[in-house]
């Protein structure tokens, strides 16, 4: 049985006055296996939060089925197994952290002794020890995010749904959250989280679903998506004349006295490396470059999986520089 199954999920919103229809979700299908971290990736406005709200019964879907552990998600009993952290969470600012956790636990009808133990453990686990009796109006955004995670874990959920959990966190907070999520997976929990921060996602997820304009464009194991994607190899060499190198490989770039050759296939690599060595050149590095999640994501954004990866916006000429387009500089 899957931890989460969504079949043909559709959702339309209407504008208030003109009653114009906006198709936000156009038939989402996705499956989350038990015990995995599933990354739900998409740009702003793609439908990530709408999908999550449908899962939790905050929005009523127009069509489709959502099952949590085989049970319809609309049932309150299904939500018993779920922990949820909303995007930019806001909690009652007149409560303290401890009171909020007790209030959250009260909604699950847990035994009082268990709640006391769990609340104390969670406060420690999310790094809020010493702040448990502080009113939430005095909390920073990062502390609220940590508390949000604690309240999502108060029922010891089987499935944890996190909507943009990394937003508003500083690097330390992000690292702590990553560690916490990974430890939850170790404990057998299933984690479904949405994000548009690719680096965090790439470091953690087992499987990823890319949503664009209300439809899943690509889904699968991250390792498979990346290994299946186009690769290229970057050779850095020096101590060889430009003229000699041009005879071996006409397309290359020159930077800081070193030559950079970008090759499309592994078969060429051996040949080029041997030729450089044979001509007394020195190989500085040979780097096989796989496509990153970012490349896959921007590929999908550009409208097709088979298009060559686009240039990186930071201009560093990193791994997603077009393959075999090394040019003389």
């Amino acid at each position: 049985m899957k931890a989460l199954e969504i079949k043909g999920l559709k959702k339309t919103f209407r504008s208030n006055f003109l009653l114009k229809k906006y198709n936000i979700l156009k038939g989402i299908d996705l499956e989350v296996e038990k015990g995995e971290i599933y990354g739900f990736l998409g740009p702003n406005g793609a439908g990530k939060t709408t999908t999550i709200k449908c899962m939790l019964g905050l929005l009523i879907p127009d069509a489709g089925e959502i099952l949590v552990d085989g049970q319809p998600a609309a049932l309150a009993t299904a939500r018993r197994r779920i922990g949820f952290l909303p995007e930019n969470p806001y909690f009652y600012d007149y409560l303290t952290a401890r009171e909020l956790l007790f209030f959250s636990a009260a909604l699950f009808d847990l035994p009082a002794a268990e709640v006391r133990e769990r609340v104390a453990a969670l406060i420690h686990r999310v790094g809020l020890s010493g702040h448990e009796d502080l009113k939430l109006r005095k909390f920073s955004k990062g502390m609220i995010q940590r508390l949000g995670l604690a309240q999502a874990l108060v029922n010891d959920p089987e499935l944890l749904i996190l909507d943009e959990p990394f937003s508003g966190l500083d690097p330390v907070g992000r690292k702590d959250l990553r560690t916490l999520i990974l430890s939850l997976r170790e404990a057998g929990k299933t984690i479904f989280f949405s994000s548009h921060i690719l680096q965090d996602m790439e470091l953690m997820v087992d499987r990823v679903g890319i949503i664009l304009e209300g439809a899943i464009r690509r889904q699968g194991k991250l390792s498979e998506l990346i290994s299946r994607s186009t690769q290229y190899c970057e050779i850095v060499c020096d101590r060889i004349s430009e003229k000699t190198l041009a005879q071996i490989q006409p397309n290359f770039a020159c930077r800081d006295g070193q030559f950079i050759i970008t090759l499309a296939s592994d078969a060429d690599v051996n040949l080029v490396v041997e030729s450089i060595i044979h001509n007394s050149g020195r190989i500085v590095s040979v780097t096989p470059v796989k496509m990153t999640l970012e490349d896959i994501f921007f590929n999908e954004m550009a409208g097709g999986a088979n298009k060559p990866p686009t240039s990186r916006s930071d201009g560093t000429g990193g791994p997603n520089r077009p393959a075999t387009t090394g040019d003389r500089q």
Binding site: L59, P86, P89, L95, F108
Partner: protein, 256 residues
Amino acid sequence: MKPGVKGIAVNTFRESARNKMFYLLVFFGILFALSSKLVSFLTLGDAMKVLKDTGLAAINFFCVLIAIFTGINLVYKEIEKKTVFNILSKPVSRDEFIIGKFLGLALTMLTALGAMAVIFFVFVAFNGGGFDAKIALYFFMLFLELLVIVAVSLFFSSFTTPILSFIFTVSIYLIGQIIWTYNEFKGLVTVPLWRAFTQALYYLLPNLHKFNIKNEVVLGMAINPWSILYAVLYALAYVLALLAITILVFRRREFQ
């Protein structure tokens, strides 16, 4: 009681109890009730009657203010600040949410009214009035009236803004105070369609006059027990019907 309902009710009460406005209104309610002593000095006639009359009126006024001001924000604020996401994503149904909110506010009103009532009883006793059971009955009837007002404000709060909720709730409260006079004037309405419309309004809007026994209390008149029983049943039916409608509206709400 379901754990979700209890948790929400307790938290709603806590929210009100930590609101400075709540204390301010309770304080002024008590202050105005006690200042009835001054009014009794300045007025001719039975000082105790004046004291009771103005004191009870002050308590009534401030309790109604608390009910309206707390009620109109109740659900709207949860949606506006998105705290409702944290509640409804847990195993709590929308029905339980509304019932919990209502019970929490009812508890708030009971506390506010209880505090004012205790002080007023002591005040009356201190001024030689002794314990008057009719005053206790007056507070009970006022509590029923407050429950109806809370249900009305909760209904509007579930789908509109606090400003509109305030206007609608105050309008209904004012109409509810005088709607009993409709039977006196309905003969003046001759157009059948208009008459049917006003008749429908008469039955739909709450008749808050049923809860007003101030004259009987102040003037020491006899109170018909059947009118009390009728008022209890009326409040119960009205609150339940309004809560049912609020729940139906809230079930269809989407939280974008």
